[in-house]
């Protein structure tokens, strides 16, 4: 597998090497970082590396979308939830309640990776016809125009269904995250039942004073 690397230009090989190093170190960082905030930042690194690999393969629009949607929106959402819940304390990775889980997981990963690589490099590939859904290269307007034509003609129905999916996801998130209005069972706690309000006592006192004054006036009159 050395020949293809040498066949490409040095700049391309160098770009791939740097991007691959960024992607791999970021991916490992996500798994081994103790602090969830560090995991999220490592995820951003991986996503940027993948975006570079997209640009390398003439998928410019997807690289932009990757940075905007993934690194911009999704990771910010992750960080928001981490901060909102306050779970950004460090997690001890040494403690493992299930003793067999970690070796088993590593074994499974090694097995899966070996299978994937064997499939990729060992077997003879049988691929179908080329450019079934339309050519991606050499189109007028570049990959943006080709992708737009494809999404709004061939995949129009899937695109419309996607909008329904997004609406359902938004409604589901609102229903899930809203404060439960029902009665709490025994032993359950609702941390937001009495939100901390520094002005609440002052207001209550003021209201009490007014009521007391009113009562006093009634008595005196």
């Amino acid at each position: 597998m050395v020949t293809p690397l040498l066949a490409a230009t040095t700049v391309d090989a160098l770009t791939f090497a740097v991007a691959a190093a960024i992607v791999l170190s970021g991916a490992i960082g996500v798994v081994v970082a103790r602090n969830p905030v560090h995991s999220a930042l490592m995820l951003v690194m991986t996503l940027f590396g993948v975006a570079v690999l997209f640009v390398e393969q003439q998928a410019n629009f997807l690289a932009a979308v990757q940075v905007i949607v993934y690194a911009g929106a999704i990771v910010v959402l992750f960080l928001f939830v981490i901060m909102f819940l306050g779970v950004d304390r460090e997690e001890s990775l040494e403690k493992e309640p299930l003793r067999a889980q970690r070796p088993l997981a590593v074994g499974l990963m090694a097995l899966g990776l070996a299978g994937l690589l064997l499939m990729g490099f060992g077997a003879h590939w049988a691929v179908g016809a080329r450019s079934v859904a339309g050519a991606s290269q050499g189109q007028s307007g570049g990959d943006v125009a080709a992708l737009g034509r494809s999404v709004f003609t061939t995949y129009l129905f899937a695109f419309e269904v996607t909008s329904a999916l997004l609406v359902i996801a938004v409604v589901g998130a609102v229903v899930l995250a809203r404060r439960p209005g029902g009665v709490l069972g025994a032993g359950e706690t609702d941390p937001e039942a009495e939100p901390f309000d520094p002005d609440a006592d002052i207001e209550a006192e003021a209201a009490g004073d007014i009521e007391a004054e009113a009562a006093g006036e009634e008595v005196s009159s």
Binding site: M1, Q101, L147, A177
Partner: protein
């Protein structure tokens, strides 16, 4: 001319395996979600690579849809995490047994 697609596919396989390992090993639900994102990204990279190798725009269109589904999945998943955290004050995978029907 870019590198042979095999390099990209090998890298995607490795990233996918790291994501799967993290999903199996970590106990923090948010980190597990990030590992799912890693696996989705590895699949996206594979799609784009095949799109280039076969000169077919369909792979890139699929990545487009994967992005949307990933965003929806994260929104609903984090909503569940917030709802569970409200009751249990914790966010490890062990706390999710209260979802048992």
């Amino acid at each position: 001319m870019s590198l042979s697609g095999a390099w990209y596919l090998g890298l995607a396989a490795v990233v996918f395996s790291i994501g799967a390992l993290g999903l199996l090993v970590r106990r923090n639900v948010l980190v597990m979600f990030m590992c799912v994102e890693l696996m989705l990204n590895a699949a996206n990279l594979t799609f784009v690579t095949f799109s280039r190798m076969l000169d077919d725009i369909g792979g890139q269109a699929l990545v487009f849809f994967t992005l949307v589904v990933a965003a929806a999945e994260v929104v609903v998943g984090l909503g569940i995490v917030v709802a569970i955290f409200r009751r249990r004050r914790n966010a490890t995978a062990d706390d999710f047994h209260i979802m048992r029907g």
